[in-house]
């Protein structure tokens, strides 16, 4: 956190000053570790084992915050008797279908709700359906049977306890390489900071998301925090430190293939043929929770898109919507580019040649397009791959033979345009424009507005049905200035939503209607323009308001700063303690009150109980704080919505030098794989030849650089602070391989070989894992061939394997070999990779087995 989010780290230091104990878990000793009270070196890719150990520690010693757990979680719910746990299936859950490498979730459901389970989760995987749950959980029907004593063998509490029973301190040590004593220190401190008076916070970054089991990492954290009563309370929570100025906004108002604004799903050709199919799949009529209104959100979005053309009669132009048929994600796209299926590619402030996994695949894909549009501040590697890329040196890309037509369009910087960023805690902040962009530089707003205008002009008069969607599009934004810049405030106003009759901006999403009387660009952002005021531009000084600072910017939903803050009060609505009071029920006023905007219906008393047969928000009781969950509870066990299991399970990374010490199932059996000649995945046990790539490598950021380096390697005062690509190794690994401080080393994977200067440092350590010594090395991934400082790209080493829930790649852990000296150049470099591939058995036909246990019903070959 000190390393990649230094300014956020000030709050950790504040906590430390007040006596908080800080633990840092990381494969390498970072600037954060330097300031932490206890640092735990861990084997990359084993966090579930560590956290699972904490879950077990809590449950075995009954250290959970029982009052909270009983009232606010699904611990008491009874699960179907058809459910079979990983304990009995050698690492698989019941319902595994080897032919699709996915689960039939029927058996995972609560007792009596078996029909609720998704049967074809392979389809959900392809559409990264898990992402939809960023704002809400999956629906469940009715009230499952409960056992408030938590003794029923099939109640969630007991199932959880059994599932994690093998995550003993000894097992943690064996899997993670974290010595038992260190683990116990962590477990003790964490559990001691639980209860009415105390809370603990959990902070993670991309070190968790970029894994083939990434979603389950975070799930494990959520289970701990829920068991300890750390959700919805001040000083608690799970804090995702996201890495880009508006990456939260980029999922809220997604430019993602599978989502529409506000986490509405992109229509699927088979499931969402009609508007009603689509809307019902979201709202699931008759089920509980706040998703009941999704028909209004969906209708309002289409109304915002197609304006007057969208009417209730024509289903708001739903027919115009493009449909998904499967996986259309960025990695599938890249492989399709290599295969010549894609004509044109827009890169908007993004540098996949350096920043995405498997840089070589990215560059080869771009070299096989008809045209490429790059919009950036700087001449980045993704714009010059045809000229300066590593493949030009190896002869794989020959400029005279590369047909890709490249348009480089300079972009406006953040001070040359106005608009909102949504930062990591869902806070929207408006940026004022300081000056006009230089030369031809323009904002994306300008580019897309004028591109759309021009497309519509060119199509004017077309009678082709396919062109209707463009011609009917509501695309008349006011513009201003000599550059004819469209008004960002007008766009924000549309995002907020307005009454289509009176044009009044809506006060919030509760005003959304499904009759065409409201248009809302992103329903969760509704309220950001309430009262016709740009609420995101509010900047009342922190000195003039309380510590929650509710009048600085605007947070979705409804300006709530802490989600589920009803949980900061006990079931009766009283603060758990004076120290930790945040939101509480005021019986006199008959409403919820506190420091924050209550994340609850304002006047629903704690004593409210839903009438029988209630659905939608009405079905949420007065002591159910988790209102976006269909049962108002935090889920320790997830019957549906997470594709790789109802509970987290330790799987080895897709590339690991080690056989999974916990189960016969080696890696996530549902992970998304892409068999493709360019995408050779290093062998892991039980496959042969895993010894060819004996070392574990991980990559991350340096404080001094930013992501793929475009915004730092071109900026002189940053470039000079970390001027060269390097690799960090422990003294023990240096001795084993023969590396010297400031000498060279090269790293080889099944995809690429890269070189770097060596820093031999005591900050890295080998780990004793399952009786073996495992060496890890660390690389920054900021370097590429352009800019003031250059170097090989660490991401070139990675292959493409994705998490099944959200289709994010595993680019925080891989295997490689390390050799002293510089890498070969030219064709010799290709020979070296080919030699490694041969030795590792990575032929074109090679397929990584997905299921590696007999429990799958067959020995996994290809899935």
């Amino acid at each position: 956190m000190a390393e990649a989010h230094p300014v956020g780290f000030q709050w950790v230091m504040e906590a430390k000053k007040r006596g908080a104990k800080v633990f840092h878990v990381d494969p390498r000793f970072t600037r954060t570790s330097a300031l932490a009270d206890t640092y735990l070196p861990i084997r990359a890719g084993t966090d579930i084992a560590l956290l699972g150990g904490v879950v077990r520690y809590i449950l075995e010693n009954e250290l959970d915050f029982r009052e909270y757990v009983l009232a606010y979680t699904n611990a008491a719910s009874i699960v179907s008797e058809r459910f079979v746990d990983t304990e009995d299936l050698d690492g698989l859950f019941s319902g595994y279908q080897p032919e699709t490498a996915s689960y039939d979730q029927t058996s995972w459901q609560y007792e009596g709700q078996e029909r609720n389970g998704g049967e074809d989760t392979a389809k959900e995987r392809d559409s990264a359906a898990g992402l939809r749950h960023e704002s809400h959980g999956m629906p469940v029907p009715g009230q499952p049977p409960q056992d408030e004593t938590l003794q029923h063998p099939r109640c969630v509490y007991q199932i959880l306890k059994r599932h994690f029973s093998r995550y003993t301190p000894e097992m943690v040590e064996r899997v993670c390489g974290v010595p038992k004593e260190k683990f116990l220190e962590l477990a003790r401190a964490w559990t001691e900071n639980s209860g009415r008076e105390r809370t603990g916070a959990l902070v993670y970054s991309v070190g968790w998301t970029q894994h083939s089991v990434g979603v389950q990492y975070i799930r494990t954290g959520a289970i701990i925090q829920t068991l300890l009563g750390n959700i919805g309370r001040p000083g608690g929570g799970i804090l995702a430190l996201r890495g880009h100025a508006s990456i939260q906004g980029s999922t809220d108002i997604p430019t993602l293939f599978n989502l529409l604004p506000g986490y509405l799903p992109m229509p699927h050709h088979a499931d969402h043929v009609t508007f009603d199919d689509w809307v019902d799949s979201i709202s699931q009529p008759g089920k509980k929770g706040f998703w009941g209104n999704s028909r209004a959100f969906a209708a309002s979005l289409l109304k915002a898109y197609w304006g007057d053309a969208a009417t209730p009669e024509n289903d708001f132009c739903y027919g115009y919507m493009p449909r998904m048929t499967g996986d259309h994600g960025t990695y599938q796209q890249v492989l399709n580019m290599i295969d010549g299926k894609i004509k044109g590619y827009f890169l908007l402030g993004q540098n996949p040649a350096v920043g995405s996994a498997h840089g070589r695949a990215q560059r080869l894909g771009m070299a096989n397009l008809d045209w490429l549009v790059v919009r950036d501040l700087f001449m980045i590697e993704s714009a010059t791959f045809w000229k300066n890329g590593p493949e030009v040196e190896t002869g794989e890309i020959v400029p005279q033979e590369c047909r890709t037509e490249v348009f480089f369009l300079p972009a406006a910087s953040h001070v040359e345009k106005e608009g909102t960023f949504t930062q990591t805690q869902r806070l929207l902040q408006w940026r004022e424009k300081a000056l006009d962009p230089p030369g031809d530089a323009r904002s994306e707003l300008w580019f897309f507005y004028h591109l759309g205008r021009r497309l519509r002009e060119k199509l004017a008069g077309s009678t082709h049905p396919r062109d209707r969607a463009l011609l009917d599009l509501a695309w008349d934004y006011p513009t201003h200035g000599p550059l004819v810049e469209p008004s960002a405030e007008a766009v924000l106003r549309e995002i907020n939503g307005y009454d289509t009759v009176t044009n009044r901006p809506l006060a919030g999403f509760t005003e959304a209607r499904d009759d065409g009387s409201t248009a809302i660009g992103c329903w969760i952002y509704s309220g950001v323009y309430a009262d016709d005021v740009n609420q995101a531009a509010r900047r009342r000084s922190r000195h003039e308001q309380d510590w929650v600072a509710a009048e600085w910017g605007w947070a979705w939903p409804a300006n709530r700063r802490t989600l589920y803050n009803r949980a900061s009060a006990d079931p009766q609505g009283r603060p758990w303690s004076e120290r930790k009071k945040y939101v509480w029920w005021d019986p006199e006023a008959g409403e919820w009150t506190g420091y924050d905007v209550p994340d609850f219906e304002k006047t629903k008393p704690p004593t409210y109980r839903p009438p029988d047969g209630a659905s939608g928000p009405e079905a949420i009781a007065g002591d159910d704080p988790f209102i976006m969950q269909s049962d108002g509870k935090a889920w320790l066990y997830v019957p549906s919505g997470v594709l790789d299991g109802p509970m987290p399970t330790h799987y080895e990374p897709a590339e690991s030098p080690l056989r999974n010490p916990m189960y016969g199932q080696q890696a996530n059996p549902t992970r998304k794989v892409y068999p493709h000649p360019v995408n050779r995945i290093n062998p892991s046990p039980p496959e042969a030849h895993s010894g060819v790539f004996p070392y574990v490598f991980t990559v991350s950021r340096l404080t001094e650089h930013h992501t793929a380096g475009g915004m730092s390697r071109n900026v002189r005062p940053l470039a000079e602070l970390q001027p060269e690509m390097f690799v960090e190794v422990s003294p023990e690994l240096a001795a084993e391989v023969g590396l010297s401080h400031l000498g060279w080393a090269h790293m080889v994977s099944g995809r690429a070989v890269i070189e770097a200067k060596v820093l031999v440092t005591d900050r890295l350590t080998p780990l004793r894992v399952d009786g073996r010594i495992i060496h890890q090395l660390w690389l920054p991934y900021h370097f590429g061939s352009e800019g003031l400082v250059t170097g090989d790209s660490a991401n070139d080493l990675f292959g493409i394997t994705l998490d099944p829930n959200v289709l994010i790649q595993e680019s925080k852990v891989g295997t490689c070999d390390v050799r002293p000296g510089r890498r070969p150049t030219g064709p010799a470099l290709l020979d070296m990779v080919a030699d490694y591939q041969r030795r590792a058995g990575l032929t074109v036909e090679h397929r990584t087995p997905l299921a590696t246990t007999d429990a799958a019903g067959e020995r996994g070959e290809d899935a």
Binding site: A2, P6, V7, F9, Q10, M13, F29, R31, T32, S33, A34, L35, A36, D37, T38, Y39, P41, G177, P179, K180, E181, K182, E185, L702, T703, E704, R716, P717, L718, A719, E720, L721, Q722, P723, E724, F726, S730, P731, E732, A734, A735, S740, H741, L742, K757, L759, V760, T761, D762, R763, T765, P766, L767, R768, I773, L788, V789
Partner: protein, 347 residues
């Protein structure tokens, strides 16, 4: 009129330099125990003061690729990797299958690197043995055999480790030799008690560079002038905080009235001692020290020289009156000898 302590001893320097209604003396307190080594100070300084590039070399000095304070780096974050215990913290590598530490050897290698800082003398190479001792521990200093058992004796494993970081800067000494020796008045004492090079005056004579007991001041090549931290004199005048202190994420760099900072520092040391960090100590805070106390002082976690600071600097002007007297004596001797040579001879 100048104070009796005008050249040495405790002094409030601004009134002594003719600022009749001087505001309170302003300064920095840099608490290295909360420094996260992010280098925001280095960058914020460069951005505000338009400081030029200072080299693109990988120095291998842990994460320090700046090397030293130079005319082109007015803040410098030092990084020191030490296989030694850190206060009350749990040993980071306890239980891991480690061999002996490498920090000292790596530091020795890094002593030989250089950086094209665009300044003179910039970042000269160092002594590998002294670098090794930096990492292995100050116990080696002049006290052979005094190191605790198991340290520096080729121990079979390393469990302890700490990573020291420290943002170094001009000390804005009470008795600033650089200022006193400056023949043009380019270096002067501001009303805030800080020491500033006036870029419109400096003619690059280089005297200040030799006079500074901290090795702070340096000459920019091509430009020829001496440059260093101004404590953002222009910002101070506008009532603003210096750029580095404003940027510092963890308040490692604190800016304020020096008296108040000294109190805060004393309290911080006491707190750290209470919390089991006995190695915390202040540096440059004492008005009775050899430079009359620094306007920018530090809380350190190791001996000063580990961070590249002199352990006991004394301003050269302490001896200036005696120097002039000696020179006068020599001059008189010369004159007498000359007279004698002409008067006393026979031929």
């Amino acid at each position: 009129m100048p104070d009796a302590n005008s050249l040495y001893g405790p002094l409030d320097p601004a009134p002594d330099a003719g600022w009749a209604d001087a505001p309170p003396r302003m300064g920095f307190f840099t608490d290295t125990s909360v420094c996260i080594g992010c280098k925001a100070c280095e960058v914020a300084c460069k951005e505000w003061n338009d400081v030029p590039a200072s080299g693109l070399d990988l120095l291998g000095m842990s994460y320090d690729n700046t090397g030293a304070l130079t005319a082109n780096s007015w803040r410098h974050v030092a990084f020191i990797e030490q296989p030694r215990p850190a206060g009350h913290r749990t040993p980071p590598f306890a239980g891991n299958p480690t061999d002996g530490p490498v920090s000292a050897a790596a530091a020795a290698v890094a002593a030989g690197t250089g950086n094209d800082t665009g300044t003179d003398p910039g970042v000269p190479p160092g002594d590998p043995a002294a670098a090794a001792r930096m990492a292995a521990g100050p116990e080696f200093l002049g006290m052979p055999g005094a190191q605790p058992p198991g340290r520096g004796t080729g121990a079979a494993e390393r469990t302890d480790f700490r990573w020291l970081m420290m943002s170094n800067v001009c000390k804005h000494c009470t008795h600033a030799a650089c200022l006193d020796v400056c023949p043009t008045g380019a270096l002067f004492r501001t009303e805030f008690g800080t020491v500033v090079v006036q870029e419109d005056i400096c003619n690059g004579c280089g005297y200040c560079i030799s006079a500074c007991p901290y090795g702070v001041i340096d000459q920019r090549k091509g430009d020829g002038r001496a440059w260093k931290c101004t404590l953002c004199y222009d910002r101070l005048g506008a009532g603003q905080t210096p750029a580095c202190a404003q940027a510092c994420p963890t308040e490692s760099i604190m800016y304020g009235e020096l008296d108040e900072l000294r109190e805060r520092a004393a309290a911080r040391v006491a707190t750290l001692h209470e919390r089991g960090v006995p190695e915390a100590r202040l540096y440059g805070h004492d008005p009775d020290d050899g430079v009359g106390g620094d306007g920018a002082f530090f809380l350190l976690l190791d001996e000063p020289e580990v961070y590249g600071l002199p352990p006991d600097p004394v301003v050269t002007t302490r001896d200036l009156p005696r120097m002039w007297r000696r020179a006068g004596l020599a001059a008189l001797t010369m004159a007498a000898a000359a007279v004698a040579a002409f008067v006393g001879g026979s031929s």
